[in-house]
Amino acid sequence: MPSPSPDPLIRLDKVTLRRGGRVVLDALSLELAEKRIGLIGTNGSGKSSLVRLFNGLLSADEGRVVVHGLDATDKAAELPRKVGFIFQNPDHQIIFPTVAEEVAFSLEQAGRPRREAAREAVPALARFGRAHWAERPVHTLSEGEKQLVCIIAVLVMEPAVLVFDEPFSSLDLPTRRRLEALIATLPQQVVMIAHELDAFAAYDRVIWLDEGRVRMDGPPDAVVGAYRAFAEAVSAEPFA
């Protein structure tokens, strides 16, 4: 069971982030207390950059980020233990050559002794019906299969916050549905980025990011609806 945080809140206070000279997040203030939070927005709007502040992969140029009581500046090194992070591109997440090693590393980072972690990797995979992948070299998996490995490797760590950066983009429909159902039952706080907007139906809150600012923030049907309308308007103007 994931350990509950005493103060389960992600707080951003006038956060500005610059990357390569561009302002990517612009004096953003947010309080994320809900259990299920969706993050949407066009490509390049700053979604991935924002969630990278939560686990210390990026740090704010101005302003303050506090995640479940940990200041992201002082306590950057402790954040990854609180915040599980599924990368948008599986190739950016995978560290080890075989599936079992990848999962075992997570278990070890979560505090299990080495041997125990190695032993538990296969049962952990079995919970997802993928025990037979244990010995497979990761690079011989299909893209969707790799993506599932990334998700499993983070879920087994049972962190207090789960950040999913478009976790289902390459998954097949049955696997996506089963993961959505599984995630719905988890006790942790979930921050999910997706372009597949159906995913948010049962969420508590959806935030629409636009050029590093919040364009809309509220219940899923309102925000997703407005975003869809925006998308239709934009796409009326054809390419080329």
């Binding site: 350990s3 686990n55 210390g56 992969l57 090194a77 402790e78 990854p80 233990r81 992070f85 990368f87 190739d91 950016h92 997440q93 995978i94 560290i95 080890f96 050559p97 075989t98 079992a100 090693e101 075992a104 590393f105 997570s106 070890e108 980072q109 979560a110 505090g111 080495r114 190695a118 010995e135 497979r136 070299p137 690079h139 490797a153 983070v154 760590m157």
Partner: protein, 207 residues
């Protein structure tokens, strides 16, 4: 050429990593001074016999030596030219045998097992503030990067071929350098995202 790990299990997978590494180190030390034909031929024969006991998948891995043939040819030609072809053959045999032996260890040992085996040797380093787990991880990563660099080169080549139908060759060198750096950048992020270099923070134990 440090072949990828072999998914099909063989009996050698079951031998503890430490023993395999020790055996390899001992053999390499032992054969270094020999330049005679007979012992080297024997060594290679024994190595091939070892592969035979590992089964067909292992034997297939011998194909990984293909890039070494030109080197062997040059070596043989050179020693011939110097008037000592027998020495050339002996040297080539040793080279092949040792590479195959080392490959046998690599393809039957998972990296975490490798780390385990190495760790006791590193314990003294803790005295100067270097965590043995960090060193073990660096070793594991380095060994992982070698085949990955080849995979990266291949992926670049595929992308080039997909648009040209030809091989990219030297033109891919500069893109390759940049890709390798991106690879390491992403790997560093992936490591950080899961708690960073181990052993540097007090671990919170959970039940």
């Amino acid at each position: 050429m440090i072949s990828l790990y072999l998914a099909e299990r063989t009996w050698l997978h079951g031998v503890p990593a430490g023993w395999k590494l020790l055996a390899l180190a001992l053999v390499s030390l032992f054969v270094a001074p020999f330049d005679a034909l007979a012992p080297m031929a024997g060594l290679l024969a024994a190595t091939l016999a070892l592969y035979a006991t590992l089964g067909r998948p292992a034997l297939r891995q011998i194909a990984l030596l293909r890039p070494m043939w030109p080197l062997i040819a040059i070596l043989l030609a050179f020693h011939w030219w110097r008037g000592d072809p027998v020495l050339g053959v002996a040297v080539a045999l040793r080279l092949l045998a040792m590479v195959l032996l080392a490959n046998a260890v690599t393809m039957t040992t998972r990296m975490d097992a490798m780390m385990d085996a190495v760790e006791p040797l590193l314990r003294p380093l803790a005295l100067v503030g270097v965590s043995p787990r960090a060193v073990a991880l660096a070793v594991a990563m380095m060994i992982r990067f070698v085949p990955l660099l080849f995979a990266l080169w291949e992926a670049l080549g595929e992308s080039w071929r997909a648009r040209t139908g030809r091989r990219g060759g030297w033109r891919l060198l500069a893109p390759f350098c940049i890709q390798t750096l991106r690879l390491s950048h992403h790997t560093a992020e992936a490591l950080a995202a899961r708690g960073g270099v181990p052993g540097t923070l007090p671990r919170t134990r959970r039940q």
